[in-house]
Amino acid sequence: MNRMRWAACLLLAPLVLMLFPSGAAAGPTYAITNARIVPVSGPVIEKGSVVMRDGVIVAVGANVPIPADAIVIDGTGLHVYPGLIDGHTNFAVPRPRTQQQAQATPQVVSPFAQQAPAVTGQRGVFEPDTSNDPGIYLTPPARGITPQMVVARELEPGSEKATMLGVGVTSVLSAPREGILRGQSAVLNLNDGEPAEMVVSTPFALHVSLAGGGFGGGGGGYPSAQIGMIAAFRQALLDAQWYAARKAQWERHGGKGIPRPPYSPASEALQDALAGRQPVVFSVTRANDILKALRLANEFNLRAIIETGGEAWKVAGDLKKAGVPVIVSLNFRPAAGGRGGFGGGFAREEDPEEQRQLEQEAVRNAAELIKAGVPVAFSSTGLTNYADVIVNARRAAEPMGKDKALEALTIRAAEILGVATSLGTIEPGKIANLIVTTGHPLDPGTQLRYVFVDGQQVRFRAPEAPRGPAGGRPQPGASDQEEVRP
């Protein structure tokens, strides 16, 4: 009996889903009327309406008919902007859980003894793929080579979403957290749906780090120095090319007569990047590291994007020449400590004057890049307080003008993330990600009134007023939020 009931439930389940799709796009139709609309892609509509249905903007203009079933929001005195895009986050990407296990008792590692790969089988844990590496005896498998990790399959959204929405961010790039060839990112909408429903685009890019790799502490394991990381990167890409060549050869032979190449998820995962079909995001900050990334991209014909890019302005000419965009981190605080000398081990005492100058340079970075013709988006990478996205975007906007900075937060980000047809502006047909504000998002004192993601109103948590003497300016409080009920 029980079993029968289960079976019935299973049969009914898809039906239930069809009747009550929890899909983000489902829900009422909205119309925002009498508002000042800033589409970013075109002229401002001083007094107009936006209509959203099924998650899509269906009409924008001074004189558009309002559907009878629409929930109407009177936008008198309010401004409508495209939702902002955070060009690089680790939002909803679970932390790998092997770190503690890896720090168990020290073992003697012989370069000639084959290592049994650790068995974990946990979600969020990605072991290196060594199936096509006969050199395993001489060089143990490199850690952090997990290009087959696809963020969209691992999403675990947390409560930080409301805070991100609270500064007007409606879409993010979610990138893998650590490793060298870290995995593949996804563009997500911060809607209230299931993780899968948040995905706008996957896999977007392959993510690479050459500095530190994000391994906590760096100790114990190949590779740990930058020269090792670059070597491991290079070997992984060569292996993928070899894999493809062997596969093609096997097919050329009609699948017989010669040994077939062993299946390699890592090599499979690298094919799109190697063919130029998928961009490769290099997480690098220092100018010299950016040049290293450009050289590696050139070596393997990769479509590079630079992320973090704190010193990118110093190599703007090289970036422009290579046609490489930069996702500039809005964390302007320079990394603590000086650069190491011999062996990277000698930290220098901090020089406050130098730190201040580094911060000034970082603030000007985006403006210098844009001036040089390098496409720029912004990201929250490295920020500890998410509200600083707006605070720092305002600072970055000073040398370039707030409209250029707004473009970087919307249309340029959408272009760089390959979703410009769907996101980044207010145009009919685009995904209805909108923010309704009391002014320009980068003007001090502007308050957020409504946030729409995929055409639906979402709850947000407005940033708290900054503490301390510097933060005298009134900030929108949580009570400003107005929810319109159908």
């Binding site: 720090q103 012989s110 370069p111 114990g220 394991g221 740990s224 090792g228 070597a231 000086g338």
Partner: protein
């Protein structure tokens, strides 16, 4: 009193200005591709010493050397009256300007790692080396691994893009290391760190033999593939292995071997391994016990790149003697005095002078230990290492004889271009610091490497 101070300051400024006029090329002159150094004592290294001589540089190369030369019209003239010119110093063993760690210390065979991938051309250590008359550095991995990786040779065009500082046409080199550092005697593994093979000198030899055996198999695999391809077959494509490739190229004689080694027994071990596998060791680095096995080293044809008088800083350095370089030189071994340090690199000329004190080596031979001999070890002696017509104009101008204790470098040229000018440097230091706010940030900011204590 105050007036006197003013006068002193003014006097110093005038002196500095005079020095600038004397040494700095003017803007108009810079357009010419000719530089003329006149009235110097020239230590050619290969062709004796020329008193009151001149050097004509054209397009970065030495076009003429000798007495009675006339400066061509439009040439930049550097008056070196009372000064000494020697070939730019070449440091056979340096770890300067390498980003993100000089050792991939996780495993003991890391031939796949390349120094060229991590060079920082803006590193301040390079400028400091220029201030010591150095124009070429051999950048190597540290000594944590039996097989460290591929080294790089750079010329000190500090602040230029990497492409311009890489020594043009330089061949490939591989760093090996033996002994204490490799076997990690006494190292306590940190939590999360793995203990690593090898932990004895026997193990080091085993790693070398195992690695080169694999390299031989790898080579054979590719050779067989090439043959089958040439015969019109379509055999399975072998995998490129970046660890074995450089080792195979050592076996093919395409890559120089520079081996960090201290004790005589391990030096002999390495020479035997090399003989067994049919490759040559180009340079034994540090080699503080080389004097014990100098005939064997000479027979193999290896050079020795050593310190002048550093010893007893670790167990395997206890049998070192300062006569090491002299004994090796007398056996016909090319000897280089290296720095292994961002600090010592600024005074290699004083280190070379010690070879005269200990062992009575001739002045010219002592000069060769920081010029021609390291150039030979690096296969760049056709271009640098001595002052000869046709060679690159990599030159160091000293205030007096480089071996005189009070002498210092006044100017360093790389390919005829001035990259260090003491007068300019001093004048710049006298200027007040630029106001930080609102000022355009400098075009390049260099990483400030600490000249910390370094383990050779």
């Amino acid at each position: 009193m105050k007036n006197l101070q003013h006068n002193l300051v003014a006097g110093a400024a005038v002196l500095a200005a005079l020095a600038l006029v004397a040494l700095a090329p003017t803007a108009a002159q810079q357009k010419s591709n000719e530089v003329f150094i006149q009235n110097a004592t020239i230590l050619t290294v290969t062709q004796g010493t020329i008193e009151n001589g001149s050097i004509l540089i054209r397009d970065g190369k030495i076009a003429a050397v000798g007495k009675g030369l006339k400066a061509p019209a439009g040439a930049t003239v550097i008056d070196a009256t009372g000064k000494y010119v020697m070939p730019g110093i070449i440091d056979e063993h340096s770890h300067s300007a390498i980003d993100g760690g000089v050792n991939e210390g996780s495993i003991s065979v890391t031939s796949q790692t390349r120094i060229i991938d991590a060079i920082d051309p803006n590193n301040i250590a390079l400028y400091r080396a220029l201030a010591g008359g150095v124009t070429t550095l051999h950048l190597l991995h540290g000594s944590a691994n039996t097989i460290g990786g591929e080294s790089a040779i750079i010329r000190l065009k500090w602040g230029r893009p990497r492409e311009e500082i890489l020594f043009p046409g330089a061949g490939r080199g591989l760093k090996l290391a033996l002994g204490e550092n490799v076997k990690r005697s006494g190292a306590t593994p940190q939590p999360g760190q793995t203990r690593r093979y090898p932990v004895t000198r026997l193990g080091v030899e085993n790693v070398l033999r195992e690695s080169f055996t694999r390299a031989r198999q790898y080579m054979a695999e590719w050779d067989a593939y090439g043959k089958a391809k040439a015969a019109g077959q379509d055999p399975p494509i072998p995998r490129r292995d970046l660890t074995l490739e450089p080792l195979a190229d050592v076996l093919r004689g395409k890559v120089r071997v520079h081996a960090h080694a201290y004790r005589s027994d391990e030096i002999l071990m390495l020479l035997r391994v090399a003989d067994d596998f049919g490759f040559k060791v180009r340079a034994l680095v540090h080699a503080l016990e080389a004097y014990k096995v100098a005939p064997e080293i000479a027979k193999h044809g290896a050079g020795v790149s050593t310190f002048a008088d550093s010893w007893a800083y670790k167990w395997e350095a206890y049998d070192a003697i300062p006569y090491n370089a002299a004994i090796c030189l007398r056996k016909g071994i090319p000897v280089a005095i290296n720095s292994d340090s961002d600090e010592r690199v600024r005074r290699l000329y004083q280190e070379a002078a010690k070879v005269i004190k200990y062992g009575g080596i001739s002045e010219t031979e002592a000069l060769k230990t920081i010029t021609l001999y390291p150039a030979m070890m690096l296969d760049i002696d056709k271009r640098v290492g001595s002052i000869e017509v046709g060679k690159d104009a990599d030159l160091a101008i000293f205030s007096g004889h480089p071996f005189a204790p009070a002498s210092h470098v006044v100017m360093t040229l790389v390919e005829g271009e001035v990259f260090f000018d003491r007068a300019k440097d001093l004048a710049k230091r006298a200027q007040p610091k630029a106001p930080p706010s609102g000022a355009q940030p400098p075009p390049v900011r260099s990483a400030d490497a600490d000249p910390g204590k370094q383990d050779p």
